[in-house]
């Protein structure tokens, strides 16, 4: 577990999550450790295929059955120790203690039922009563106008932004301690994105909820994250407070990510990119998985670097961290 001294025990502390798929000895997720405190937002960033969504699905116990056999690792959730291979224990947390919202609001609601019913259903599953009042209150909280009438709408009668609000209402109707949002704004247009992010932030500040936000939008991260975990090829390569990650990135991959964001001011230069692509599971290098694309790679990178402290609450998995270079230097 990675923790700064004097910090309170995290709400969720994921320890050494690994996921292996039978014929391949190389783990898809390798020793992923994350933690998030109440009232804080952890952003998981990384390019497509780095294991962000797999991590969240493993925490929810929603991985496909054929992947479930390959899970190892534990999670401390609000003082309770849960093995990530224990599907029943995860199912008990799911929906009550941990809520989740998905990327595609257009297809994540059941077209056959009224939205009021769908929100109430989650309440009924875990509580007594029909949940109508709770559903109505949630619709009001997520800012849907005329909620009494909207309760009776079917999903096809709503826009994408409205549906994402309904999804959020469904995920939060049981007042979960942790909300996992897997790219909740990717499918929405920019103004609606801002509204949804504001809504999540506002709902979070009302309670003591922790949020894990999975995204590849660094602008979103800068805006709402408390801490950031950067994932690459199934490993956490850097983790720390949002200021440290943005101002003093230590892992070459994080540096690459930061410098591939187009600047708003200053001279226009060619945008720097991280060369190459994420290696496939068959071609995964031994040791540091970023070595094949890293400008600083040395023979020592053939061994796996540990996630070592480089600053207060800030850890990076690189043999050369802390680096003595600036972001501009790498770009």
């Amino acid at each position: 577990m990675v923790m700064t001294p004097n910090s309170p025990a995290p709400l969720m502390d994921l320890q050494d999550l690994s996921l292996t798929i039978a014929p391949h000895p190389t783990p898809l997720l390798d020793g992923v450790s994350l933690h998030v405190n109440r009232g804080e937002t952890l952003c998981i960033v990384g390019e497509s295929g780095c294991g962000k969504s797999l991590t969240s699905l493993a925490v929810m116990g929603l991985l496909a059955p054929k992947l479930q056999t390959g899970i190892a690792g534990r999670m401390r959730f609000d003082g309770q120790d849960v093995a990530l291979s224990d599907q029943e224990a995860l199912a008990r947390l799911r929906g009550t203690r941990i809520g989740m919202i998905f990327q595609e609001p257009m297809s994540s609601l059941n077209p056959a039922h009224r939205i009021g019913d769908q929100i109430a259903e989650g309440w009924r599953r875990h509580n007594k009563g029909d949940g109508r009042e709770q559903a109505l209150a949630m619709l009001r909280r997520v800012g849907i106008p005329a909620p009494e009438r909207r309760m009776r709408d079917y999903p096809h009668q709503m826009s994408g932004g409205m549906r994402q609000r309904v999804m959020i209402a469904m995920a939060l109707v049981n007042n979960p301690d942790l909300l996992i949002a897997d790219e909740p704004t990717t499918a929405l247009d920019v103004t609606i994105q801002a509204q949804i992010l504001d809504l999540i932030g506002q709902l979070q500040s009302e309670g003591r909820m922790a949020t894990i936000l999975i995204t590849h939008d660094l602008g979103v991260v800068a805006e709402i994250a408390t801490s950031v975990a950067v994932m690459y090829a199934g490993r956490v390569v850097e983790q720390g407070p949002v200021e440290a990650i943005f101002q003093d990135p230590q892992h070459p991959y994080t540096i690459g990510l930061m410098s591939s964001v187009p600047p708003l001011r200053g001279a226009r230069t060619r945008l720097s990119t991280v060369p190459g692509i994420v290696p496939s599971i068959e071609t995964m290098p031994q040791g540091c998985r970023f070595a094949t694309r890293c400008p600083f790679a040395q023979p020592v990178c053939g061994t796996t670097p540990p996630l070592a402290p480089v600053g207060p609450g800030h850890h990076a998995a690189c043999h050369f961290a802390p680096l003595n270079i600036t972001q501009q230097g790498a770009a």
């Binding site: 929810m60 929603l62 199912a91 799911r94 929906g95 009550t96 809520g99 989740m100 998905f102 595609e104 297809s107 994540s108 609601l109 059941n110 077209p111 056959a112 039922h113 259903e121 989650g122 599953r125 875990h126 106008p145 005329a146 009438r149 009668q157 999804m167 469904m170 995920a171 109707v173 049981n174």
Partner: protein, 289 residues
Amino acid sequence: MTDMTADPVLERRPRSRVWRKLRGHRSALLGAIIVGIFALLAIAAPILPFPDPAAADWGAIRQPPSAAHWLGTDELGRDQLSRMIWGARASLMAGVVSVAIAIAIGVPLGILAGYFGGWTDAVISRCTEALLAIPFLILAIALAAFLGPSLTNAMIAIGIAATPVFIRLTRGQAISVAAEDYVESAHAIGLRTPVILRRYIFPNVLPPVLVQATLTIASAIIAEASLSFLGLGQQPPAPSWGAMLNTAKNFMTQAPWMAMWPGIAIFLVVLGFNLLGDGLRDALDPRED
């Protein structure tokens, strides 16, 4: 609440798209009217002022259509119109009940096979394929012969013979619905599998099942007529179109109307259900709008 009704977003409440498309579909409308007329006559048969369909009149056998007997009489002098209408009861009931049996067995099995996959699917699908290998009518005749001649047994036989089609159809639908995002989000709010099957999978596999049901009613009516023709369905003296055709074939030259009316009726009802089914298929198709 007055300020709410002024909201332009809330003002524009789309009416059911399916209903609108169905109403604009001419052939579906025609089908619905045909089916509706037969259904009304069948339901109203006991209160309509027609003679008893089983009452023989030896003074008026095999009479052509006349003012007294609008559709003529049969070889025992029974009123053909009355027998036609009572026969409609048997035909429509056989169609609806046997399809209800097929749906009641086929849809749950199809959902189980499609949702769980693996061994469940293998067992259900292999049995389905074995049944599908036998032609529908042959299977229905064999089952009816096995169960013994009666209208109830004929309906059971036709229902079982029609089941594999519904298992197949539902299984395919269930596989595609199970992969939908809303099923994953149902898992994410912690719903149990039975609830997911009942509230998420079941209603979303229904539209194509509804279309198939309408079309299968048409085949089931033909099957019932065939079974009755062979003496395996409705038993005399109770009237049925198939049984009427069977008797009528002996008098084709002397009294052709005896064969004509049941033939026309079967043709019209089957046409009606097929038109209705086609219209439903178009209306429920989300691709064209």
